[in-house]
Amino acid sequence: MSVELAALRTVDLADSGVSSLNGELHAAPAGRWEVSNPAGRHAIAVGLTVPHEVVIEGHVGYYCAGMNQEAAVSVRGNCGVGVAENMMSGTVRIEGDASQAAGASAHGGLIAIDGNAAARCGISLKGGDVVVRGSVGHATGFMAQSGRIVVCGDAGEALGDSIYEARIYVRGDIGGLGADCVAKELREEHRIELGELLEQAGLGDADPREFRRYGSARRLYNFDVDDAV
């Protein structure tokens, strides 16, 4: 593995299309890749299955690193809608800002966003982790089932609307809580997991004690006359 990782492949998207890059990434054994001139193209480095290390030099469009397994993808720029959607494992780092639905339905792995993330960050999360250094937009964690969302800045309206068992940690202010989402006690076990997450995301200097925890009140878990209205 380490021998394979040593060679760096560079791909200039101004010359080759996204399909040929993805095709190469799907066929090659794990390796190091540098991708230049992404120019906001969609679906860059999607469906990876091996521990490639991919660095993308610039801004990307929708669904970058979608359904990632094992690979470490970093974007030296901003990204469009649905970065790392349905990721299964691996890590995705965004050095800039992320648009809507970052990490949507991610089942595993870590998505670290150095800038801000727009609306619906971590929507439908299913076990993945999303750590945002900046702030997030409205409906973050909508219907999130499991996994963790960490926001070092502020969160918009309807935080954690219809949330199931995911845990949300926010350091700043929140614009409002969504249906069935409540503030919960930050216990020692939470401080520990939060500390680990921040560390993994390269934010080890943030103090877990400054965060508040949000999660499901579990009042909508079973149909009830009063929920139906």
Binding site: V46, Y63, M67, Q69, N222
Partner: protein, 448 residues
């Protein structure tokens, strides 16, 4: 409990007049609502009568057209799905596929039976909300993998081992609605596949988490193609509500195949009010869908699969004649493997229903072992027998379809055309855009 037509015969005496407005099911439902204070949930499709394929007739051959010999002459039934962009289109032997039905709503043996029956007849099955099970993958030669709003169990490995991908926008039973799976059916296995706590009442999302609108959908489809190296056909499934626009937008978004599900289409569990009052009949949905394809120069290039209330070869033939490339079946396939079997009458009665009426599929107590996650109940369904019965049923549908096609002189079932049809009612004539029987009149169309 659902108000069931015909099960409540009590109370009638000479001289009593039943109200057409407040009929017995209506009164029953008002009383139930007054007692329980929550809307009724059930499975199946719309029960009300809507204009449907029974309102159409084939003309058959005559002096100006000649027929093909009933049993002997060739009448092809195969269809290729996904010829537009996919590197590996699906080639199925018959124009009837098995619709997406979730593991969770259905038991594992039921999914296996569907796979066995479909495979025996050379056609495809479809996963559903809740992901792909081993049982269905291993018993289905051709398996379509659904990408649903909930993304339960969505896994790129399954995406790659599927034969086609179906992006579900909506279902005919409930266009605009999400799914429901009641706590009784959230067993350990279902909960693990969906990443949810055991025993909760689960609502699946009605909107996709990472795209909104046709421009996003186009990019989403592109992503799915990239992940699967552009091999798999991509289907887009819509509930019939605005079929002209939805089909056009699906084509614009890059779909290889459009699946159009009419309001009679079954569901595992939805609100009764949704099932009966949202969406348009299958019959009414096909002509605008075909019109959109024709106008875009995509008819037969983007294949159209129609579902919602298909029961017989006559229904199949009529859907094809109106311009579909294939049809898909849900409820009929479940009846074929043993749903609502009269031999279980006593057991249906125990749970307050009757054979032929049972629709509380969400409660997970199905004596036939189909709509349940209870291992003992599920074990009652013999997947091999169910598979054989489904294959027999599909074979019959195909024979009937061929019989009608040959009678109209067609050597391929998809060569049936609107020309071969007339309508029995003004409504059906207007919706299907074929003339009222014995006239030249298509309501709403000038023919001069």
């Amino acid at each position: 409990m659902t108000a069931k037509n015909g099960t409540d015969r009590a109370g009638w005496r000479d001289g009593l007049r039943e109200s057409a407005t407040f009929d017995r099911p209506t009164i029953h439902e008002i009383r139930r609502a007054a007692r329980e204070g929550v809307y009724d949930i059930r499975g199946g499709g719309a029960k009300r009568r809507v204009p449907n394929f029974d309102d159409l007739l084939f003309l058959g051959a005559s002096v100006s057209r000649y027929p093909l010999e009933g049993y002997r002459e060739r009448c092809d039934t195969d269809v290729v799905l996904g010829t537009r962009f996919a590197k590996k289109p699906l080639h199925i032997d018959i124009p009837v596929t098995i619709a997406g039905m979730s593991f969770g709503a259905l038991s594992a043996p039921a999914k296996e039976a569907l796979g066995r029956g479909a495979t025996a007849m050379g056609t495809s099955t479809t996963t559903g909300d809740g992901g792909m099970t081993e049982e269905e993958r291993s018993h289905s030669n051709t398996l379509v993998y659904q990408l649903l709003p909930s993304r339960y169990g969505m896994n790129p490995d399954d995406l790659r081992r599927a034969d086609a991908i179906e992006v579900v926008v909506g279902q005919g039973a409930k266009p605009g609605g999400g799914g429901m799976l009641m706590g009784q059916k959230i067993s350990e296995r279902v909960a693990a596949m969906r990443d949810l706590p055991v025993g909760i009442d689960q609502r699946s999302a009605c909107r996709h988490p990472d795209w909104t609108g046709p421009d996003d959908l186009e990019i989403k489809i592109e992503e799915l193609r990239e992940i699967t190296d552009r091999e798999k056909p991509i289907f887009v499934k819509v509930g019939a509500s605005r079929p002209y626009y939805d089909v056009a937008l699906a084509v614009k978004s890059g779909a290889d195949v459009v699946v159009l599900d009419g309001m009679q289409g079954g569901t595992a569990a939805s609100q009764e009010v949704f099932i009966e009052h949202v969406g348009i009949p299958t019959l009414a949905a096909i002509p605008p869908a075909v019109q959109a394809l024709v106008e875009l120069g995509m008819h037969r290039k983007v294949q159209l699969i129609v579902s919602g209330g298909i029961r017989s070869g006559a229904d199949v033939a009529k859907a094809l004649a109106l311009g579909a490339d294939a049809v898909s079946i849900g409820v009929a396939a479940l009846i074929a493997i043993g749903d609502n079997d009269p031999t279980l009458e006593a057991e249906y009665e125990k749970i307050g229903s009757a054979a032929g009426f049972y629709d509380d599929w969400h409660e997970g107590r199905d004596p036939a072992g189909i709509f349940t996650q209870d291992e003992e109940l599920a074990a009652r369904l013999d997947p091999e027998l169910g598979g054989r019965q489904l294959a027999n049923y599909l074979r019959t549908l195909v024979q009937e379809t061929q019989t009608l096609a040959r009678a109209c002189g067609k050597s391929r079932v998809q060569n049936l055309e609107p020309e071969d049809l007339v309508a029995l009612t003004v409504e059906a004539a207007a919706m299907a855009r074929v003339p009222l029987a014995g006239t030249e009149w298509i309501p709403g169309q000038e023919r001069y």
